[in-house]
């Protein structure tokens, strides 16, 4: 909220620089987001009286002026045509500065001395452009030789506050002034509200009926013999500084009061209130109404309207109607000053897409007791500006008046809770500045004014004390008491281990959105009945592409590979540890999964190796890899299901060429998706030392020819089974196809290490076992020894 500094100073005497005030108020809880200082750069510009104007001897378009700037009369050459002898104008003296850092120096114009410059509004940074042509002419009687900043009110500037939603009272400048009064411990001045009522009775002009409790209070006054026109310069300037456009004197008064006190008001033209009756009621569903901005709106029964006998004249608390607005020939005005249910105004404004200065105040739930002050203030201003006469009496429908709230707080508790030590008298003093009445006993008995609905419990009072005392003065202390031990869960610890393995294997961690497009399932070839298509859906997504919570990490890692591939990053190794989301009875189920993706000079076995590394580090040994031809995402011949303790925990392999094409990648892609919880459960914590071997090993190589489709796992199973007594290690060291190997066959070579723990093996023993292995391979797999 924009607060012109001069306006604020009307209620509190603070003799401080605007920036100092901004910092102090920020530290006491009224955050100043920006300080706008008008005229900050203007220097040595004063008011001057043009005493004499003569033609320039050498130029038709120039004129030579003698200007009285107070202490002397100086000569200035100007090209402006709008100045006349006797005008008072802003004069930039020799050595002066204008906004934008422009320096003015004396010099000669076409041979004639010129000792400064007459300024336009644009040159002073007041107007945005030269829409007002020529030099700025100041009102007659403006003192001469005075700093222009004082004349134009350019000193001070504007404070822009961020008001938090709990402080409805600070949506008026007077509320900010109360804060300043409390911060600087200076008295808050009263608001002038006096005016004279005419003999007539308002009842002869208007009647009001409130039909709904959403309107907590409705007050009105009538002003007659109104002379519509512009409001005075000072009022217009203040409204503009506060960000409100001046309209006419009556509307400007309602806005002025709103800015000042935070209480929105509305003015109706009495002529256009049909039946001279105001009815506050719910709108009818589908009721049409044209607001001030000329837009026809459709209302519904959740909304409150101000109506006359024919129809709505205003959407309560949001905006008035076009028909009853104040016009140039308006002579009788009805001032409305009311209080509406905050959440309802908020919803109405939201539904209509019409958030106004008024609705944004009402939605904070204003104090109904503010109504009297605001209405009287408006009438006072009417009288002060001499633009009308206030009709006697007022209408005030206020069923359940709000009373001040009283609570008791132990001052010692406040000191203990905040960690400070101040006296109860000092506390009472602080609260007093905030408008609270405090009785000091063992406890503080506090009467909270109705404009502070946010203060209800002792913690609220503690905050008032803490912020006025100054958060910066509270000592920083270590937590005392029982030491608390920090522990990482097994899941957290093991996740870190897995991430480290991947990083050490050259993978980069990625972070992708949790929501995806439903089309992603088509792109990865999931059939219509795939359980992965059963998703948690967002009711109000940013768009279809972000509309469902992912059930698999594969589309995200594919998108990431796609982005990189398109940008010519063709060697990519990435992984992500993230949740997927699956509908369940009450809350969705959110398992954590690991996805891995690779493109570049890699193959299936690079990917498998990484997975084996992870399982090795976790000490998981009951692992099986099963061929999976049915997984639609993958190449049917290059996909494995990963089983840990016989339970499927994920899958990996080469992405199906059609999927690759869907993601516009022309290289082979390898991806994996593994659920982490089963790995954590299978993690082996216990390791036991086994004595180092005492007896020598015997190393035998074996090379066999088998059919292509024989899996090496089958060969290894046979070796282990036959040789289990003495085989220590089986290591595949070569798989060869090509020359000297018949078509449809492959050559597979192993190194087998034999050893006994209890004695040295004899050659005979080894030969016997080795030969039965060869025999068994030949019988069961048709292997031929090479």
């Amino acid at each position: 909220m924009k607060v012109p500094y001069n306006w604020l100073l009307e209620y509190v005497d603070i003799e401080k620089d605007i920036r100092e005030v901004a910092d102090a108020l920020t530290m006491s809880g009224s955050k100043v987001e920006e300080v706008i200082e008008y005229g900050k750069e203007i220097d040595k510009v004063v008011t001057g009286l043009i005493e004499k104007i003569e033609r320039h001897p050498n130029a038709d378009k120039l004129r030579v002026c003698q200007v009285n700037v107070g202490e002397e009369v100086i000569q200035i050459v100007t090209g402006a045509e709008n100045v006349q002898e006797g005008d008072t104008v802003p004069v930039a003296l020799h050595g002066s500065t204008l906004p934008g850092g422009v320096k003015i120096k004396k010099g000669k114009l076409r041979g004639v001395d010129s000792n400064g410059m007459l300024c336009s509004e644009a040159e002073l940074g007041i107007a945005d452009d030269d829409s007002v042509h020529g030099i700025m002419i100041l009102p007659k009687g403006t003192p001469i030789g005075v700093d222009i900043k004082e004349i134009l009110g350019l000193k001070g500037g504007i404070l822009d506050f961020e008001i938090t939603s709990n402080r409805a009272d600070c949506f008026g400048i007077y509320g900010i002034a109360r804060e300043a009064s409390a911060k600087f411990r200076v008295p808050l001045k009263g608001i002038e509200t006096s005016f004279k009522e005419k003999d007539e009775n308002i009842k002869d002009y208007i009647d009001v009926e409130v039909k709904d409790d959403l309107c907590r209070r409705y007050a009105a006054r009538v002003v007659k013999n109104v002379k519509i026109g512009q409001s005075p310069e000072w009022m217009q300037q203040r409204l503009m500084d506060a960000g409100v456009r001046p309209i006419n004197n009556i509307v400007d008064i309602t806005n002025y009061v709103m800015l000042e006190l935070g209480q929105p008001m509305h003015a109706f033209d009495h002529r256009f209130i049909n039946g001279k009756r105001i009815i506050v009621r719910r709108a009818e569903d589908g009721e049409k109404f044209t607001t001030l901005d000329g837009v026809e709106r459709t209302l519904d029964s959740s909304m409150l309207v101000i109506a006359d006998e024919k129809g709505a004249v205003a959407v309560a608390g949001v905006m008035g109607g076009l028909d009853s607005e104040i016009k140039d020939d308006t002579t009788t005005v009805v001032f409305e000053c009311a209080n509406f249910n905050g959440p309802n105004v908020r919803l109405t404004a939201k539904k209509l897409g019409l958030r106004t200065e008024s609705s944004s105040r009402f939605e904070k739930d204003l104090d109904p007791n503010l109504v009297d002050l605001a209405l009287d203030r408006a009438c006072h201003l009417v009288e002060a500006l001499e633009i009308g006469e206030v009709v006697g009496g007022k209408i005030d429908i206020y069923k359940n008046p709000v009373k001040p709230y009283t609570l008791e707080v132990d001052p010692n508790w406040i000191n203990d809770f905040i960690g400070i030590n101040i006296s109860k008298e000092a506390m009472a003093n602080m609260l007093g500045y905030l408008g609270m009445k405090v009785e000091v006993g063992d406890k503080l008995k506090i009467e909270v004014p109705t404009f502070r609905q946010d203060i209800r419990i002792k913690e609220d009072v503690a905050e008032e004390i803490a912020r006025l005392y100054g958060y910066d003065k509270i000592k920083a202390e270590k937590i005392k008491g029982e030491a608390v031990e920090a522990v990482l869960t097994r899941e957290q610890r093991l996740t870190n281990i897995i991430r480290n393995v991947l990083v050490n294997r050259g993978f980069f961690e990625i972070n992708t959105y949790s929501f995806i497009s439903p089309k992603a399932f088509d792109k990865i070839r999931l059939p219509e009945d795939s359980p992965l298509r059963n998703t948690v859906k967002i009711l109000n997504p940013l768009g279809e592409d972000f509309s469902i919570m992912r059930t698999t990490l594969i589309p995200s890692i594919m998108e990431t590979l796609k982005i990189n591939y398109a940008r010519d990053n063709k060697e990519v190794k990435i992984f992500e540890v993230a949740k997927t989301y699956h509908p369940a009875e009450n809350m969705p189920y959110e398992p954590v999964k690991l996805s891995i993706g690779m493109i570049g000079k890699v193959d299936f076995y690079d990917l498998k190796g990484v997975i084996e590394n992870i399982l090795y580090v976790l000490g998981i040994d009951k692992v099986d890899y099963e061929r999976d031809e049915k997984n639609p995402i993958f190449h049917p011949g290059r996909c494995a299901k990963l089983l840990v303790r016989r339970k499927s925990v994920g899958y990996f392999g080469e992405v199906h060429p059609e999927v690759a094409e869907n993601y516009e990648i022309e290289d082979r892609i390898y991806v994996a998706e593994i659920e982490l919880m089963p790995l954590f459960e299978a993690y082996k914590t216990e390791r036991k030392y086994k004595p180092l071997p005492k007896y020598p090993a015997v190393d035998r190589d074996i090379a066999i020819l088998v059919k292509d489709e024989v899996a090496v796992a089958e060969i290894e199973n046979i070796i282990w089974k036959i040789g289990k007594e003495i085989v220590e290690q089986v290591k595949l060291f070569d798989v060869y196809k090509g020359k000297q190997v018949p078509e449809g066959m492959k050559s597979v070579a192993y190194s087998i290490i034999y050893r006994r723990e209890d004695r040295t093996l004899t050659d005979e023993e080894v030969n016997k076992v080795h030969e039965s292995i060869i025999k068994s391979l030949s019988e069961k797999l048709g292997a031929q020894l090479r």
């Binding site: 939603s165 910066d472 029982e482 050490n504 990625i510 992708t512 109000n540």
Partner: protein, 339 residues
């Protein structure tokens, strides 16, 4: 005979000195000390000497032999050292050539900074709590003093799954969840993804990370809140970091504050990052509202606590000078390789 021995001694010494390699030394050994060597030959002729001369010459001959052996030993050592030096000289390599590396990957910048923050709090006795991302409206809003139709709901544009389920807009729901499960003393941080329906641009992302903190115990004060967060700020941003606590408003803390830290880019002088103010807003915090303690099953008359929440993405962006939040979720490998 004595003269002959003297001569052999001199000749041998001469030859040994001239020898430049171990092979030549071997030849010299054979020539003088071998079975047919000159010294051996002379010793064989000792029989012709008188009994008086024999022990004298014999002793001298032995001295000569020992002398030659000693010289050969010295010469050999010398030559070996020279040969080794020569070998070393020929084995110089270009140590500026690149080393043999295994390609190492990297942790995402968000998680890298998060790990750092976790470590700091871990060191202060904070464990790490987690909670669901698809959250009940109750935990995300109502238990935090934000009932339906509360204006604060407008400030956090929420993604809804159903009437009662939302994508959590903050990590704060973990506060009440933790209190329900754990008896004080509680000291946790809870990092995680949060969601707001903000359109994507350079400074807005519909998904971002927050880190929640919660401390509940007997006698926890606002001074403890300041002490804890100041310690964090100094550990994370550097020992010279200053902090500033400003009053603020959150529905679930009372009193509430925002913490600024002195700009870690310019040190508080004022720069582009801190918009000239010298301060950077880092987190919101406050004393846990008694209603929230009650919702967590904790008696506010017996216990008090403080809570805080900070946005990770912004801290990461300022720390690394990243000017567009989208880079964090786009995962261009050339971007990821920079951290």
């Amino acid at each position: 005979m004595r003269e002959q021995l003297e001569k052999i001694k001199l000749e041998a010494l001469e030859e040994i000195k001239e020898a430049t390699n171990s092979q030549r030394i071997d030849e010299i050994r054979v020539k003088y000390l071998g079975k047919k060597g000159s010294l051996t030959t002379i010793l064989r002729g000792m029989g012709s000497l008188s009994p008086e001369e024999r022990p004298i010459i014999g002793k001298f001959a032995n001295e000569v032999r020992e002398f030659i052996e000693e010289e050969i030993k010295k010469a050999l050592l010398n030559i070996k050292n020279k040969e080794r030096e020569l070998k070393i000289k020929g084995e110089y390599i270009d140590i500026t050539m690149p080393g043999k590396k295994v390609e190492i990957g990297g942790i995402h910048p968000l998680n890298k900074v998060l790990d750092e923050i976790k470590d700091i709090f871990f060191g202060m006795g904070f464990s790490i709590a987690e909670g669901p991302e698809v959250e009940l409206d109750y935990y995300n809003f109502e238990a935090l003093n934000v009932p339906k139709n509360h204006p604060a709901r407008d400030e956090q544009d929420t993604f809804y799954i159903s009437e009662n389920l939302v994508l959590r807009t903050q990590t704060s729901p973990i506060q009440v969840r933790t209190m329900e499960k754990t008896k004080p003393p509680i000291r946790i941080i809870a990092p995680g993804r949060v969601y707001r329906s903000d359109a994507v641009d350079a400074t807005h992302s519909p998904i971002f990370y927050q880190i929640e903190g919660l401390v509940v115990d007997k006698g926890i004060t606002m001074a403890n809140l300041k002490g804890t967060l100041e310690t964090f700020a100094k550990r994370f941003f550097g020992e010279k970091t200053r902090t500033k606590f400003r009053p603020h408003h959150f529905p679930f803390t009372e009193p509430s504050a925002e913490m600024d830290v002195s700009c870690f880019v310019c040190g508080g002088e004022g720069c582009r990052v801190c918009k000239g103010s010298g301060w950077i807003e880092i987190l919101g915090c406050g004393m846990v509202h008694p209603d929230v303690l009650r919702k967590g099953g904790i008696d506010p008359d017996e216990y008090s606590g403080f809570a805080f929440g900070m946005g990770l993405d912004r801290i990461v962006m300022i720390k690394y000078g990243i000017d567009d939040i989208r880079l964090l979720y786009e995962n261009d490998i050339r971007f990821l390789k920079q951290f």
